[in-house]
């Protein structure tokens, strides 16, 4: 029955019994049993966690998903949801004895309701497709992770993804109005709805960011926004990070709400120059990129203010962009920053942490001290507006002991984030990768409460097990620190926000 190659390990026992039923549900071509094929699903975007799924199914409807999950529930077999597999925390890492439920064939846009400014989509629809469908009507879907052309809306829901513009527009959670989900017991349930703000507990809010542990989203109603009338961008150069930080605070406390505020330090500017010759003002100790969008009159007024505040905070040069080409020139250095760092260091670790914006100057100073004390350089590129740091810890992997010291610094930076009331992940989620660091941020009682909540949805513990919350099996020994930035980001080919 299974077209497994000779000498290949057979499929795990309890699963083999499910196969005929899965085929009845999803059709022959919707069930993948052959090992070679299954293996192509072994990891998401974080490839050093890999595991061949027991079996893969490709449902096309909610009913199929529900039937598959019921089958799993009855047999006590674990299942893992997967969208486009671009996650960076191994959240979609398959279970070797479970069913991988992939939404890549659930990619219909069910409704674009312009009058009510919303769209209804299947979970496998790519983020950017929503905007493409809404664009002819003058609308767009705001959350814009840099993987937006490929990552699925279902995956965005599960990770509560954000993008460069989430400072003004918020993360995915602010743009989801309703969900149809299949619970881990196989029931189809609706959370939220077309009307805003349903009474009772905000289960919709709880589901967003649940990383596939509370069930599978099978239909999603999102908010559409009117495309901004005008977009303007400025680049300001400062002598010091402190001056740049002061400008950010001044802008935000003046009531200006930029769409994006990004900052780079001297080391990352140096790297970006080396890589793409972005031609930022020479001698800058920090550059700030501020983007404003909205009604033309507002944008113009706020833009003037932001420019003035930058100068008052000590900017020695301010450049402005009013069209797409000029904008691209300003963003060029920022977008290549991660890549660029590869040019000035043989190896590095990228961290993803968050601190309250007001703690930024202090945290940056502490990072500089850490760096000086350890002799390990740290480049800083971050979303200054919402305190999402992506420190790049540079080291030479050929030098004995360097990678350990870098890992130590990287870990200490996360500790700093926690000490300042921040978080161990900005947008990439916990998945398997950071599950074992959850106890550093939450007390045992906190974690127990989360586990209770999870169990209310999934008493049998079959929905994406061993993700998000630490387990003894997973965290018995402390897992290795991440070796480096995602290679794509390292090349500047993509950015992480």
């Amino acid at each position: 029955m299974f077209d497994e190659g000779e000498g290949e390990p057979r499929m795990p026992q309890p699963l083999t019994a499910l196969i005929p039923r899965l085929r009845e549900i999803c059709g022959d071509d919707g069930v993948i049993t052959d090992r070679t094929r299954r293996r192509t699903y072994e990891s998401d975007g974080l490839t050093y966690h890999a595991s061949t799924p027991g079996v893969v199914v490709l449902p096309t409807t909610t009913d199929q998903v529900a039937a598959v999950v019921r089958l799993c529930a009855d047999a006590g077999v674990p299942f893992v949801p997967r969208g486009a597999g671009t996650g960076l925390s191994a959240g979609a890492l398959p279970h070797s004895e479970g069913v991988l439920i992939v939404t890549s064939r659930m990619r219909r846009i069910l409704e674009i309701d312009v009058a009510n400014e919303r769209a209804v989509v299947q979970p496998g629809v790519a983020n950017l497709e929503v905007t493409r469908a809404a664009a002819p009507h003058g609308y767009y879907y705001a959350p814009d992770p840099s993987s937006q052309q490929v990552c699925s809306v279902g995956g965005n829901i599960a990770e509560n993804s954000g993008g460069a513009h989430c400072l003004k527009y918020g993360f995915t959670v602010n743009h989801v109005l309703g969900l149809e989900i299949v619970t881990p017991q196989g029931e189809v349930v609706r959370l939220g709805g077309k009307a805003a703000d349903a009474p009772g507990y905000d289960l919709l809010g709880a589901f967003v960011g649940s990383e596939g542990t509370l069930g599978i989203a099978t239909e999603i109603t999102v908010r559409l926004l009117r495309a901004p009338q005008k977009v303007r961008t400025l680049l300001a150069a400062f002598e010091t990070m402190d001056a740049g930080g002061a400008a950010v605070s001044a802008i935000i406390s003046a009531g200006v709400l930029p769409a994006a505020v990004e900052m780079m330090d001297a080391l990352s500017i140096e790297a970006a120059e080396a890589a793409v010759a972005c031609d930022y003002p020479p001698g800058a100790g920090a550059v700030l990129i501020v983007e404003l969008d909205g009604p033309a009159a507002d944008v113009d007024a706020q833009f003037e203010r932001a420019t003035r505040l930058c100068r008052e905070s000590g900017a020695f040069e301010v450049r402005t962009a009013d069209d797409a080409a000029e904008r691209a020139r300003i963003w060029k250095g920022r977008k290549s920053a991660f890549a660029a760092v590869g040019r000035i260091s043989p190896a590095y670790i990228v961290q993803d942490g968050v601190v309250p914006r007001t703690a930024l100057p202090d945290v940056l100073r502490r990072i500089a001290e850490l760096s000086a004390a350890s002799g390990i350089r740290v480049a800083n590129v971050f979303h200054a507006g919402d305190g999402n740091l992506h420190p790049l810890v540079l080291f030479d992997d050929a030098e004995p002991g360097a990678s350990e010291r870098a890992a130590e610094v990287s870990g200490r930076i996360l500790d700093l984030c926690i000490e300042h009331g921040g978080s161990i992940t900005g947008e990439h989620g916990v998945g398997v990768d950071k599950a074992c660091q959850m106890p550093e941020m939450f007390s045992p009682a906190d974690l127990e409460t989360m586990d209770l909540f999870r169990s209310a949805f999934d008493p049998a513990g079959i929905a994406n097990p061993e993700k998000l919350l630490p387990t003894p099996r997973l965290c018995g020994e402390r897992p290795g620190v991440r070796k480096g930035v995602h290679p794509l980001v390292a090349e500047g080919a993509a950015e992480q926000f």
């Binding site: 077209d3 190659g5 094929r37 975007g45 490709l58 992939v102 995602h486 794509l488 993509a494």
Partner: protein, 442 residues
């Protein structure tokens, strides 16, 4: 990262297969532009999945039946090369993989026969020309319409049905091009021209138009008689030795022609000729030979690329037509040529040029793919024809005749026939001041 680092296939030089595989970081950015992923939504039929399968093949040192099937499903459209931010040389990877498949994989009998037939016929212009007679008689008899209506071929063999459908309408004999077409007016350059096997036999009018346009723009056009197939078809399907043979012959044909550039008007041919070094390396040629081939490659340009470089001289006459431009994969993804044809077309007075939605997705023609995988090719053709319809164009322009035929045939099936033309034919009509009706007769 500089632009040249990400140019299609650039810089792979003599890096090993494993090295090239290592460039893929599994980000999935290539998925949405892959036609088979668009059709089937499964990892194994995506670029990222195929690269994973190649990795498995290296790791386990076996080529599984399953993997071979997914490699065969790949159209070789190279959309993944364009959309990959890491510069993965999928073009080099798949060519090399196809050669392995060709050597190690035994296909089912029916498919073996079909492939044998295709490769006995296609790369040989004279054999193709022999087919013209019977084809023309068949089309003239009206039998073709009957056959299409009844769907009888569809039932016997979808591949034969495809072959029947995409056979170009033939009229008249193949006009022979002289060995040199002299420049009109002051000479600006001396260029060589590739006539190609399929192009030469089935689309002689495209070659004539190309030669006329080049001459009008002030080029002496040298058309060496001894040239044959450039080897693209063979290279794209893993027939490495055969491809290298064609490459050597083509390089030899142009080596002493004394031309500044070799102008190619068929996307697939140009794409391959620009990588002759790799074609020869794949077949284990000596470094000296590889170097000579690379010298020729450096002079190969697509017609539109060349005309833009040269700058227009011949006056353009108005062509009041609503056209849509289709990016042939091996022009856009294979050679990075997207703006030049548009620039040339938009410079024609009164010619409206619409862009298609989803321009990066392959139409399903893909060399002989539509013969080898008729179902997938048909589905892609349908998608493309919907996009073409949405533009309201009356004329479809492309830089590759295979694409035009594929799309025209899909539009036909949908009951909304459209006229098709090569970029060269549109330019030719404008320069000569022809009535637009000549482009709109099908």
């Amino acid at each position: 990262m500089t632009d040249s680092d990400t140019a299609p296939g650039a810089g792979e030089g003599s890096r090993s297969f494993d090295d090239l595989l290592g460039d893929c970081v599994h980000c999935g950015f290539c998925l949405p532009t892959c036609p088979t992923y668009v059709l089937w939504g499964e990892e194994m039929d995506s670029p990222r999945g195929r690269i994973h399968l190649m990795g498995q093949m290296r790791e386990d040192d076996v080529l599984s039946e399953a993997a071979a099937g997914h490699f065969d499903n790949c159209l070789g459209c190279l959309a993944c090369v364009s959309s990959c931010p890491s510069g993965v040389a999928y073009d080099a990877l798949i060519e090399s993989t196809r050669a392995t498949v060709e050597q190690e994989h035994r296909r089912p009998a029916g498919e073996r026969l079909l492939r044998a037939a295709v490769f006995a016929l296609f790369p040989y212009r004279r054999r193709l020309e022999l087919m013209r007679g019977p084809l023309k008689a068949y089309q003239a008899s009206g039998l073709n319409r009957l056959v299409r209506r009844t769907g009888v071929l569809e039932r016997i063999s979808p591949s034969l049905a495809t072959m029947e459908r995409i056979a170009p309408p033939l009229t008249g004999a193949v006009p022979a091009l002289p060995e040199v077409v002299p420049a009109r007016g002051r000479r600006r350059a001396v260029v060589g021209m590739l006539t190609g096997c399929v192009q030469g036999a089935f689309f002689p009018q495209v070659n004539t138009a190309t030669a006329r346009v080049l001459a009008s723009e002030g080029c002496d056009v040298v058309i060496p008689r001894e040239q044959g197939c450039c080897g693209a078809l063979s290279a794209h399907t893993g027939r490495a030795a055969e491809a290298a043979g064609f490459a050597r012959a083509t390089a030899a044909a142009f080596a002493d022609a004394g031309v500044d550039a070799v102008v190619v008007n068929s996307a697939g041919c140009g794409g391959t000729m620009k990588h002759y070094g790799r074609v020869l390396e794949e077949a284990g040629a000596a470094p000296e030979e590889v170097r000579r081939a690379e010298e020729l490659s450096a002079r190969v340009v697509d017609l539109s690329e060349y005309l833009v470089q040269l700058g227009p001289r011949a006056p353009r006459h108005p062509l009041p037509v609503r056209a849509a431009y289709h990016d042939a994969c091996h022009l856009s993804h294979g050679q990075g040529v997207t703006s030049q044809p548009r620039e040339l077309l938009r410079a024609i007075p009164e010619l409206e040029v619409a862009d298609l939605p989803n321009p990066e997705i392959c139409c399903g023609s893909a060399g002989v793919y539509n013969l080898l995988r008729p179902q997938a090719a048909g589905d892609l053709g349908e998608r493309k024809s919907e996009d073409v319809r949405s533009t309201g164009a009356e004329l479809l322009v492309a830089g590759n005749p295979g694409c035009s035929l594929q799309i025209a045939s899909a539009m036909d099936r949908a009951g909304e026939p459209i006229s098709v033309a090569h970029t060269a034919q549109v330019l030719d009509a404008s320069i000569r001041g022809l009535d637009p009706a000549v482009l709109l007769t099908r």
